[in-house]
Symmetry: C3
Subunit: 109 residues, 3 copies
């Protein structure tokens, strides 16, 4: 048994969750914020059998496309706290950051 | 050391947390949403000693009772996005979905 | 690969996240609530290489100082639900509660 913790773009969250549910996976959604861009994103918890991890990675791949985005992050650039020093930067957003964790016990109580 | 991640019904969250705290467990509560019903629920994080897992499962069992509920989920039924095609369905709600994960290091910094 | 799950004081969350990002760590922030004080706090997810855990513990130590606080917790004291029986209590707040979990697979999809 595994627990997938996936951080995804808010725009992709609903189609992704619908795809997961239609494929008979159960998922719990948490509202989260990215540390770099300080924008809202979505963290999904998906508990599943070991053999199903590949299928879920496929569903993630299908629904979470990376795209370039020009941002001016609020995180200080360099050692100054001067926000006016932040440079517009191009980052890849979307896509999914996925952690697969081993679950020792998974049950419905 | 283990980390219990438990998804519970919002109605059960407060009595459950009080019961855990009275039994000297510490718990962190996250607001979450179920992927199928799209309703708010609660995800609890409970870090604890291995020997205490049984006691917490007992507390979960005592506070989180399953009950039947008739719902008309917003998740598309079949391959159509037509929400008017969703059938009222009876599901079991309440209860707790519990994942027990091994923790390599648990400390207060 | 590890996933650090750290529960920290809301006041420390932003400086801590800035410090992590400046040191090239990526972090996802979840709004959470403590089970005892019922106050808002912050749960951070930091996925990282095994060798980097020590550096992140140092950053946590630097940014999350414990401080004493007198509180009157809303959790019932003893077996009565009588809130007027809660005693003002001194607790240590701030600091960070840290769980380090082994990650079997960490990838960007
Ligand atoms: N120091 C830096 N310099 C330049 N560019 C930087 C950067 N840190 C992040 N970025 C870029 O900004 C995007 C958004 O990062 P953010 O931290 O807001 O939002 C992140 C964060 O919430 C989460 N995440 C990614 N890696 C993580 C990790 N190792 N641990 C915890 N959360 C992670 O997934 C979201 C998307 O990450 P993703 O890597 O796809 O996309 C990242 C990356 O392309
Ligand atoms: N393996 C897993 N990984 C991550 N999170 C998990 C999980 N299993 C359960 N959860 C979380 O626990 C909540 C309650 O699940 P439960 O199975 O008791 O109760 C479920 C179940 O009785 C029913 N249900 C879920 N998916 C269904 C489906 N595809 N068809 C019919 N009924 C479904 O609807 C109830 C509410 O589901 P919902 O998704 O809204 O909310 C779920 C979800 O947030
Ligand atoms: N094993 C664990 N599993 C999951 N989450 C954990 C955890 N240990 C700590 N946390 C999280 O970290 C927050 C701060 O805990 P800390 O022990 O530093 O600071 C605690 C502690 O000094 C004190 N405290 C907690 N439970 C107590 C009790 N039963 N009696 C007396 N003081 C208590 O009140 C402070 C705030 O506690 P609160 O529950 O509101 O908030 C907790 C909780 O959200």
């Amino acid at each position: 048994m595994k627990l997938i913790i996936a951080v995804v773009n808010d725009k992709d969250a609903i189609p992704l969750m619908e795809d997961l549910v239609e494929s008979n996976f159960q998922v719990t959604k948490l509202a989260s914020t990215g540390g770099f861009l300080r924008e809202g994103n979505t963290t999904l918890l998906i508990g599943l059998e070991d053999e199903a991890v590949e299928q879920v990675r496929e569903i993630l791949r299908k629904n979470c496309k990376s795209r370039r985005k020009t941002v001016t992050p609020v995180a200080p650039v360099g050692n100054t706290m001067d926000v006016s020093m932040s440079y517009p930067t191009e980052v890849m957003v979307g896509g999914a950051t996925v952690f697969v964790v081993k679950v020792e016990k998974w049950e419905k109580i």
